[in-house]
Amino acid sequence: MPENSNVTFDLECRQVTKSFGDFTAVDQVSFQIPTGSFFSILGPSGCGKTTLLRMLAGFQHPDKGEILIKGKSVLGTPPNRRPVNMVFQHLALFPTMSVTGNIAYGLKRRNVKREEIRTRVADVLKRVDLPDAGDKRIDQLSGGQKQRIAIARCLVLKPDVLLLDEPLGALDLKLREQMKVELKLLQETFGTTFIYITHDQSEALVMSDQVAVMNQGRFEQVGTPQELYYHPETSFVAGFVGDSNRWEGHIDAIEGERIQIKTVEGESFVGRSIVKHQLKKGDSVEVYVRPESVNIENPKNRSDLPNQCRGEVISVLFDGARSQFLIRLPQTEGEISVAMPQTGEHAQLRKGDSINIAWAADQCLCFRRSSGNHDG
């Protein structure tokens, strides 16, 4: 996150904390969001992301901490006065009003003149590519159209920050993929700061400039999608963002950044440690290897990668671009999933075939085993 003081922040949270009884839903969360960016909060259900969003919208009040919008504290401001608007999980379009009525609702509350309301509604409908939808009833719209109207209803008010509470959750897969791209484009054309909460990592990765991974009320890591994917800082992030093969084990030896690991099942790997973690010999660790970073070796031309295994294909999981082989390592009976190369190179592999696989030490990330932080 840029620490440059010239950057203006649309939204800033300082040590925001919220508890319900004994349960701390949001635990000292601090972050800053620069103007005009798409910021996602990614986490499993129950991690506190909805509570955090509702505090930003003003429906809940933090026990401690400070929320600033454009540099001004909004803690004393009720939801209807905050310069933020929210797209609700089930959109919450008013079924008793037409599309125009829905979009004009907020403008009327600001005493905008009738003429101006008409032009602004027409304008925003054009911008979300539904110029003729104005007279329709809400139940006449398709899922994707409702989505766009819900966003238009907020954006017509030109909020400083737009909050989105998993609005794509109710859509079917195809439409969801399409809406991801559309949302990103909408955000770019309007230039409004979006805060998007989701449990779907693909939504967060595709759309966001910055993603915060949240777990048990805390931010585990904030960074660009690439940083989260390639350089996770905690084992939770490594396990939650993207697919991974995971082992538990302990450290056998350390040589600089290279670490020798012995897994519980008895395999030996060479891995890389995250600088922050400062591991020592004998520490319990978790090891993560992404399926796509595992090479399927050509028997005539073996690579010199430090982690080499021989295994048997026990399953071919075909899923287009996300196809994987499930491979059993015979010495330990452990299983490892390996991405099928898209070049079609190993497409002929079948169940029961024996292959050699290998991966680089850099692709094998080690984290200190955190107690109780990860139970899956």
Partner: protein, 287 residues
């Protein structure tokens, strides 16, 4: 018997009690009432066809004034019931959760386990000259003699509103319950004040419940006999009392039937006008 005719047969068997009830207790008496109301007694057992019983209603001021008064008081009772029941229902449906919600709902229901007669006597005990309220006023020194609070329009109104409350609360709680909280939150989030959210979101959503509650309460008030007579006394001037007088006291069944039919037609017209005004359809409201 094949399957489809068997299902049709069982459907008829199931419908039979209802059809019989409709036919024998509702339709037949009304047809008979219409025919009785359209005849005039010339001499003993000698009747002619005539509209006299109907014209009588419009010529004699006491009759139609009583009707207008009854209709007006019923509309007023309906509005007051709505005004009291709406916040109560909103509180039960939206502010309460779980067991407390069920408890409050049952508390609204409990008075209706007692018969209307007993409930009305309850009000009489409170309001009569030697009643609780009168005694209390004398005890704290606000009055130096017994106060009669029965036998006036306010007492009738109290009784009607009290009797009707449940029939307003139930449809209101049901419709308000179905209002998604996020719609209310969205109303605030987009800049609405409490008043905006109430008038633009909550009331439009609750409209079917409001209208169905109002129809039921209005019909119950209009057709109520016990409460106006007991709390309003002899001079309560309630239209059902007129019907009773014609049938029982004056033994003028022709006139009584005409009043009964007129009450049905006029109240239906008022309900129809109410539906038109609130732009609701009858099927929508009653479902």
């Amino acid at each position: 018997m094949d399957k489809s005719s068997y299902t049709r047969f069982s459907l008829w068997i199931l419908l039979l009690p209802f059809v019989l009830w409709l036919l024998l207790l509702i339709l037949l008496p009304h047809v008979d009432m219409v025919s009785i109301s359209l005849r005039e007694r010339v001499s003993a057992r000698n009747y002619t066809f005539s509209f006299k019983n109907y014209t009588e209603f419009f010529i004699e001021p006491l009759y139609w004034r009583t009707f207008v008064r009854t209709a007006w008081m019923s509309v007023l009772a309906t509005l007051i019931t709505l005004l009291i029941a709406f916040p109560v229902s909103y509180y039960i449906a939206k502010m309460m959760r779980g067991r407390l919600k069920a408890l409050l709902f049952i508390l609204c229901l409990i008075p209706f386990w007692v018969s209307e007669l007993v409930r009305t006597y309850g009000w009489m005990i409170l309001l009569r000259e030697t009643g609780l309220l009168s005694t209390f006023l004398q005890w704290i020194g606000l009055s130096d003699q017994p106060v009669e609070m029965l036998y006036n329009d306010v007492a009738i109104m109290i009784g009607l509103v009290y009797t009707s409350m449940l029939f307003m609360v139930v449809p209101l709680v049901t419709t308000l319950d179905s209002l998604d909280d996020s719609l209310i939150e969205a109303g605030y989030d987009l800049g609405g004040s409490n008043w905006n959210v109430l008038t633009e979101i909550i009331i439009p959503h609750a409209m079917p419940g409001i209208v169905s509650g109002c129809i039921v309460v209005f019909m119950l008030s209009l057709g109520n006999y016990l409460t106006p007579i007991l709390l309003g006394g002899k001079d309560s001037l309630w239209f059902t009392e007129q019907i009773f007088t014609q049938f029982i006291t004056r033994f003028n069944w022709e006139q009584g039937s005409a009043f009964g039919i007129l009450l049905l037609i006029l109240s239906s017209l008022i309900v129809w006008a109410g539906l038109k005004l609130s732009r609701q359809s009858f099927t929508n409201v009653m479902s």
